[in-house]
């Protein structure tokens, strides 16, 4: 792997940057792999990276229907935080944040993790209690999160309107270590790291079926580029998980919904942090390029169309204009949609399945990006050891049968 650094950049500039090598290969699929990962999004690539790096399993293929990082990884609003309520969730997302903090160095790829803070606004008494419950639980779990008064919110994020509005702001919960990262760089950095350790990333390779042997265990995957034998299969297919798992005869507690996001035209720095308001349904941050990156909740109906309705956008932007009325004259540059797979308790599933050799990492809903390194890390462990890491042990499929839900949505009514 060619090293990336300022010095290297300078050195190769003298040669007109002609000597840079591909960041990953474009290999033909081999006949057999120890592990096949379905889906080359951030989670799938991170899984392959950690399989190789931490478990020494390098005979791995990551299969991607389109181009790597082209699904939700490349479509999300890049928010990173870990101030989740329940112990199980806090441990999982905090594991990810700790990895985020060293990820650029680990990958030798600047993923631009920017801990500029994530501020979640409270507009009513219910929000206040809920956020304070989070703040206290987070502190005891070793996760930073603090309560700010409305004036402190304004001081932390001066563009915010806190009072002359329909639902005045009563305060907010701030995770200072939360922030954003550059979504494409995450996919590319993990791809480059995995590839350099021998992982084959095979793009334009659609999985059409999962072959199982007489005992029911997985044998391999049928793909648009032929059959590929695999001892283990890890499904990391986000919105398409139900479709892939159906190939192994499994029904999932998942529904796939469109999730839209949008950006404004770029402007000079005008918004210093990430602000989320669940009560009026919107969140906003400013990218390094200057665009206001804005999102809200999902559309109302299940869909794989990767687009949503205009009325969702109008409600998102009326909320943004209420929070930051001086942005009313900014202009929307791009609006797009992804497909998010949602579980009944809004928490992910990172688990073994009833099919031997088949593992699944799904159900991240609207919040998967922030977990990317942590999720890949524990999913790799689960695949390598055929048993979950203690962090993902609660995130089973069986919890729905037994009722041990991890219901962040019910408990907090906070978007991820």
């Amino acid at each position: 792997m060619q090293k990336f650094s300022g010095l290297e950049l300078f050195r190769r500039a003298l040669g007109g940057h002609q000597s840079w090598q591909p960041q990953w290969r474009n290999p033909e699929p081999k006949a057999e792999y120890d592990v096949v990962i379905v889906g080359a999004g951030g989670h799938g690539l991170a899984t392959a990276y950690y399989l190789a790096k931490e478990h020494g399993i390098t005979n791995v293929a990551v299969l991607e229907r389109g181009w790597l990082g082209g699904g939700n990884t490349g479509r999300n609003t890049t928010i990173v935080r870990s101030n989740y309520l329940f112990d199980e969730s806090a441990a999982l997302y905090e594991h990810a944040v700790k990895l985020w903090e060293g990820l650029s160095t680990d990958l030798n790829y600047n993923v631009m993790y920017s801990a500029r803070g994530v501020l979640m606004l409270a507009h009513n008494h219910h929000d206040v209690i809920s956020f304070k419950r989070h703040v206290h639980a987070n502190r005891l779990n070793g996760v930073d999160n603090e309560w700010l008064s409305a004036q402190e919110c304004k001081a932390f994020c001066p563009p915010l309107n806190i009072s002359s509005m329909r639902y005045p702001i009563l305060g907010g919960a701030l995770q200072r270590r939360g922030g954003t990262a550059r979504h494409d760089a995450v996919a590319w950095g993990f791809a480059r790291g995995a590839d350099s350790r021998g992982v084959d990333i095979i793009q334009n390779c659609e999985v059409k079926g999962i072959r199982r042997d007489a005992t029911g265990a997985v044998e391999g995957v049928e793909t648009s580029r032929g059959f590929i034998k695999a001892k283990k299969i890890g499904v990391s297919a986000a919105g398409h998980t139900s479709v892939v798992m159906a190939m192994a005869g499994l029904r999932m507690p998942l529904e796939s919904y469109p999730l839209q996001a949008l950006v404004s035209e770029p402007v000079k720095p005008a918004f210093p942090t990430v602000v989320m308001s669940n009560t009026i349904h919107a969140y906003i941050s400013q990218s390094d390029k200057g665009e206001m990156v804005i999102g809200a909740g999902t559309d109302a109906y299940t869909s794989y169309s990767q687009r949503g309705a205009l009325h969702i956008t109008t409600h998102t932007l009326d909320a943004i204009c209420e929070l930051v009325p001086q942005f009313r004259r900014l202009r929307m540059l791009r609006n797009w949609g992804g497909i998010v797979d949602v579980t009944p308790d809004r928490s992910p599933i990172i688990a073994k399945t009833p099919v031997k050799g088949l593992y699944v990492n799904c159900g991240w809903g609207t919040g998967g990006f922030k977990a990317t390194p942590g999720s890949g890390n524990v999913f790799a462990h689960t695949i390598a050891k055929d048993e979950p890491h203690k962090i993902n042990a609660p995130f089973t499929l069986e919890r729905f049968r037994d009722g041990f839900l991890i219901d962040e949505a019910a408990a907090a009514a906070v978007a991820h």
Partner: protein, 1003 residues
């Protein structure tokens, strides 16, 4: 130089209406009908902006919404500041004040231009490869620097005072684009009698015809035909013509979103007018006549001010009467360059040379150029330009065969403008947004619409049809077909023949050959994002093979023009670099909006009190007049407390609580949800929906009901009255009312359609006045008629109908305070009058109005839960002490089966308990966690949390409710609430703090 580039005659500007304006503080003059760009060019101003990354000087490239370069900030003062407007679209008005962006200290001397010198170290994606050391420096140091350099204009800092509106419209045929194809389509559709909407983003209808000086249509000069056609369309009742209106989004099921700029072109807009309006048009049929965009050519230093698209140059001359320069070099790969050269020559511009990439241009226009004595050079490329803030010369070299560097010697030709044309790219943005599949046309070297998915037709240049007659005929045919499909009447045949010189379909995509070192030459593909052909080649070298990857890595096509001028050239360069045909590289997705669209129109009127309905009760005005503080509960405003004489909330609530416990209080409970459940199967329905049993409840009696979701968790509760054997009066929580009714309807309609029972929301039918306290009966007795409210006749948990203060009432004897209490339901319009009469009567008894805070304290003293506060969607009835309300004998009810799952009876479930701090003066924070050992290492095991916490005036100490793991078994034990600064000792208690036997209720 003021005005010196304006032609003496010609163009569509209104020369009788001069307009003065300013740019960067300098004052200039233009005419009504000018754009800012045309007026600046008329004044000889070409330097209009600085580029994003290298801060290179930039001028105007285009004459329309595809402009990547000339972005300005236009201010009308205060919050009326708009960044990033295209000078090519800003209409001139008297007093317009524009400023350039992304430069310091000035446009002509910009310190950021040092970046241009550092450009070798800033290739595509350089930021992914560096700024990683030392750890944490990205956030602290590098990122702030990068962010400050990025961005274009400045966001406004004051709230926008302008108004925006929204409008839903329907049409039989919506035609997008009013060039010849769109006009012809509109003519045909209009003739059918169908309801037609024709929209165009420009200030005038006409599209390419606005710059047409030579062609004739139906025997008339194009200009006259245009005027006649517009007049004919405008005269029809079934046609709506919309200018300054951009069709920016194509949404499912033929919904097209339009952004209409209503006042932006006016010097002094009336306050009654909205600035912009969002139209959501549902069209039975859509005709897309969105035209084609001229492609630039990618050659070194093609970004100097003065380098512009050939047809844009022609537009400035023909439409605006502006010479783009005195002496032009034309670089072309198609006949459009010749057309521009001929028009400009006729307009007094010297054409120094035409460099044509084609070895042997044929056709009428090249022949006419030769005949006009223009220096035409076939097989020649422009390989560079000179000049600092404006192009001063072009460098030409002859192409020799196919070899990449087979170029002849470089010749420098002085000029002040370079016109370029690489041919035309059909504008398929809206078609692609409609999810229609694009097909690559190798002859045209572009993507054209394939099969439609929506009820849509593309016509004219946007589907690769060129030649005026062909375009008009296609437009008319598509308009007719659309009208027919939409149910319109017959359309008369019409021969729309035109006389015009065909510019053919030649063109070029990719980067043109040049002799410079390709590793260092800057040939721009995406002007605004400063992406050069070498950046794109670097991306392919680094393994980015999909066009989406190339786009994201280099940022080409991601600027505010969304790649209108750059996408096809980028594809051409990738195609060459990977030796792969264009169609195999893929195409980036066209995403809405077509051009950037103001946030304000999406928000519309939704701001402040119109952001969401402000729901108020019939008694709200009374509370407001008495200075009540309000809180938001869902969309409702509820009186929170009634401060008197400078009291804070604590003092007011203590006083209100004492009043209720000692005398009587009055409380507005109107926001409670109410549902009337009526029908012979009403009781059976109640049995299935609620956990309790309802069959044996006598009419005239009340019962507390608990409702679960099917997953077994508490979702709502309320007091329910049986008004008659077949009629229940259900109450729900304030926030839960819509959810509960929706859930009931779901079960009733889809699971139990056989039940003869119907549900009606009566939340707003009734104003609800709670009268609570030992003297409640004394207050009400003189006001009530037809009801015996004595203790014996009307026990706790009963309901009677009669009158109060003359109004019909459903009188509930019920208490959420633990005191003797009534809830007076009266029709809403009488709510305030009845409230006032009760209050007047109560004054003799010391009646005190109280708000939601006091209500919370009083119920907490009694250990009554609030769903949503003690419960959080993960609580079973038993968890919150409501196990008694679950009908064990019932075979089934919603949620029952889920209660049988293992997790629902786990020993460590959190249970509702009371909490008393050892120090009675400490009021715990709601949401605080409860632990056994605050000194335990992180993560500290948590046992539960405080759900409600107050100072209780009547008990003279703090109280709290909490949910704690195995809580009921811990009653009497000590635990700790750890706070950041201290650990608070608590004791777990029974949740009922006051009158545990409930004797006061039965008073």
């Amino acid at each position: 130089m003021s005005g010196s580039f304006r032609t003496p005659v010609g163009g569509r500007i209104d020369r009788l209406n001069p307009v003065s304006f300013s740019f960067d503080g300098h004052f200039y003059r233009g005419f009504k009908g000018d754009t800012l760009a045309s007026a600046l060019l008329a004044n000889g101003v070409h330097l209009i902006g600085r580029s994003f990354k290298y801060h290179r000087p930039r001028g105007v490239i285009s004459a329309g919404s595809d402009e990547p370069n000339a972005l300005v900030d236009v201010s009308r003062g205060g919050g009326r500041t708009t960044p990033n407007l295209r000078a090519t679209q800003v209409e001139l008005y008297e007093g317009l004040a524009a400023e350039s962006q992304n430069r310091w200290p000035s446009l002509s001397f910009d310190a950021g231009a040092m970046n241009d010198l550092a450009a070798p170290f800033l290739p595509a994606g350089f930021y992914y490869k560096t700024f990683m050391w030392p750890a944490g420096a990205w956030k602290r140091f590098y990122e702030p620097k990068i962010r400050a350099m990025a961005g274009l204009g400045r966001a406004p800092v004051e709230a926008d005072p302008d108004r925006y509106t929204q409008h839903y419209a329907h049409s039989d045929v919506l035609v997008v684009g009013s060039g010849p194809a769109g006009l012809a389509a509109a003519l045909a559709a209009a003739a059918s009698g169908a309801k037609v909407i024709l929209v165009d983003e420009q200030a005038e209808l006409g599209g390419s015809l606005l710059a047409e000086t030579e062609a004739t249509i139906e025997g008339k000069p194009a200009k006259d035909w245009l005027a006649d056609t517009v007049a004919a369309l405008a005269a029809r009742d079934n046609v709506t013509l919309m200018t300054r209106t951009t069709a920016f989004g194509y949404f499912p099921h033929n919904m097209i979103a339009l952004a209409e700029r209503v006042t932006e072109h006016l010097p002094n807009p009336a306050a009654t007018l909205p600035r912009e309006r969002l139209w959501q048009v549902r069209a039975k049929e859509v005709v897309l006549a969105t035209g084609a965009l001229e492609r630039p050519l990618v050659f070194p230093d093609n970004d100097r001010p003065g380098v512009m698209l050939a047809d844009a140059g022609r537009t400035y001359l023909n439409r605006y009467g502006v010479q783009p320069g005195r002496r032009a070099v034309v670089f072309t790969a198609c006949d459009a360059g010749y057309r521009a050269a001929l028009d400009l020559a006729a307009g007094g511009v010297t054409i120094a040379a035409i460099a044509d990439l084609r070895a042997a241009p044929k056709g009428e226009l090249p022949a006419r150029a030769l005949a006009a004595g223009i220096d035409v050079r076939p097989g020649t490329a422009v390989v560079g330009t000179k000049g600092r803030l404006r192009v001063s010369a072009a460098e030409l070299a002859k192409l020799r065969g196919e070899a990449a560097h087979g170029l002849g010697p470089v010749e420098r030709i002085a000029c002040d403008v370079v016109l370029m044309s690489g041919g035309f790219t059909p504008s398929v943005h809206l078609f692609s947004q409609s999810r229609g599949k694009l097909a690559y046309d190798p002859a045209l070297q572009c993507y054209v619409p394939g099969a439609s998915v929506e009820r849509e037709r593309s016509t004219g240049a946007c589907r690769g049809i060129y030649g005026l007659t062909a375009v008009l005929e296609d437009g008319y045919a598509k308009g007719e077909a659309a009208a027919h499909a939409a149910g319109g009447g017959p359309v008369p045949a019409r021969e729309l023949t035109a006389e015009a010189t065909d510019t053919g379909t030649d063109g070029f995509i990719g980067a043109t050959p040049h002799p410079r070192n390709p590793a260092f030459a800057k040939a721009f593909v995406d002007w605004q994002n400063d992406v050069t052909s070498k950046d794109i080649k670097l991306a392919t070298r680094e393994g980015f093979r999909s066009i989406e990857h190339v786009k994201r890595y280099t940022t080409t096509g991601m600027a505010t023009d969304q790649g209108k001028t750059s996408n096809m050239n980028a594809l051409g360069i990738v195609s060459e670099a990977l030796k792969t045909p264009v169609p195999q590289i893929g195409l980036t997705t066209f995403r809405p909006p077509f051009t950037p669209t103001t946030f304000g129109i999406f928000a519309g009127a939704a701001r402040g009190d119109l952001f969401d309905p402000v729901r108020t009760t019939p008694i709200h005005g009374w509370a407001a007049e008495r200075g009540a503080a309000f809180e938001d509960v869902a969309m409702w405003k509820r009186a929170h407390y009634f401060p008197k004489g400078g009291e804070d909330m604590h003092a007011a609530v203590a006083r209100e609580c004492r009043a209720v416990r000692t005398n009587v209080g009055i409380f507005d409970a109107s926001t409670l949800g109410k549902i009337e459940i009526v029908g012979p199967d009403a009781a059976e329905f109640m049995n299935r929906i609620y956990t309790n049993a309802w069959s044996k409840l006598e009419p005239g009696r009340l019962r507390y009901g608990v409702m679960l979701r099917e997953d077994g968790f508490v979702t709502d509760d309320g007091v329910i009255g049986r008004m008659a054997p077949d009629r229940f009066h259900v109450t729900t929580t304030t926030g839960g009312a819509p959810r509960v009714l929706a859930m009931m309807e779901d079960y009733l309609q889809t699971e139990w359609p056989d039940l003869k029972v119907w549900l009606t929301s009566t939340t707003e039918q009734w104003a609800v006045i709670a009268v609570q306290g030992p003297k409640a009966r004394e207050v009400l007795a003189p006001l009530v008629e037809g009801i015996d409210i004595s203790k014996e006749a009307m026990p706790h948990m009963s309901v009677r109908e009669g009158r109060i203060c003359g109004a019909p009432t459903r009188l509930f004897r019920v208490s959420f305070t633990g005191e003797l209490g009534f809830e007076v339901n009266v029709p809403a319009e009488y709510g305030r009058a009845v409230w006032e009469q009760i209050y007047a009567e109560g004054e003799r008894h010391g009646i005190c109005p109280y708000g939601t805070e006091t209500m919370h304290v009083l119920r907490a003293e009694k250990g009554y839960i609030i769903v949503g506060q003690e419960t959080d969607g993960t609580a079973t009835p038993d968890d919150v002490g409501l196990g008694w309300a679950v009908g064990k004998a019932k075979k089934d009810f919603v949620g029952k089966r889920s209660l049988a799952r293992a997790a629902m009876s786990a020993p460590d479930r959190k249970q509702l308990v009371g909490v008393l701090t050892t120090d009675p003066n400490v009021v715990l924070e709601e949401g605080a966690q409860i632990v056994a050992d605050p000194e335990a290492p992180v993560p500290v095991p948590m046992l539960g949390h405080v759900t409600s916490s107050y100072h209780s005036a009547v008990l003279g100490r703090s109280i709290a409710l909490a949910v704690v793991k195995g809580g009921r078994a811990r009653i009497g034990s000590k635990l700790v609430v750890p706070m950041p600064d201290r650990a608070i000792e608590i004791e777990i208690t029974d949740p009922i703090f006051y009158d545990p036997k409930g004797e006061r209720l039965d008073a």
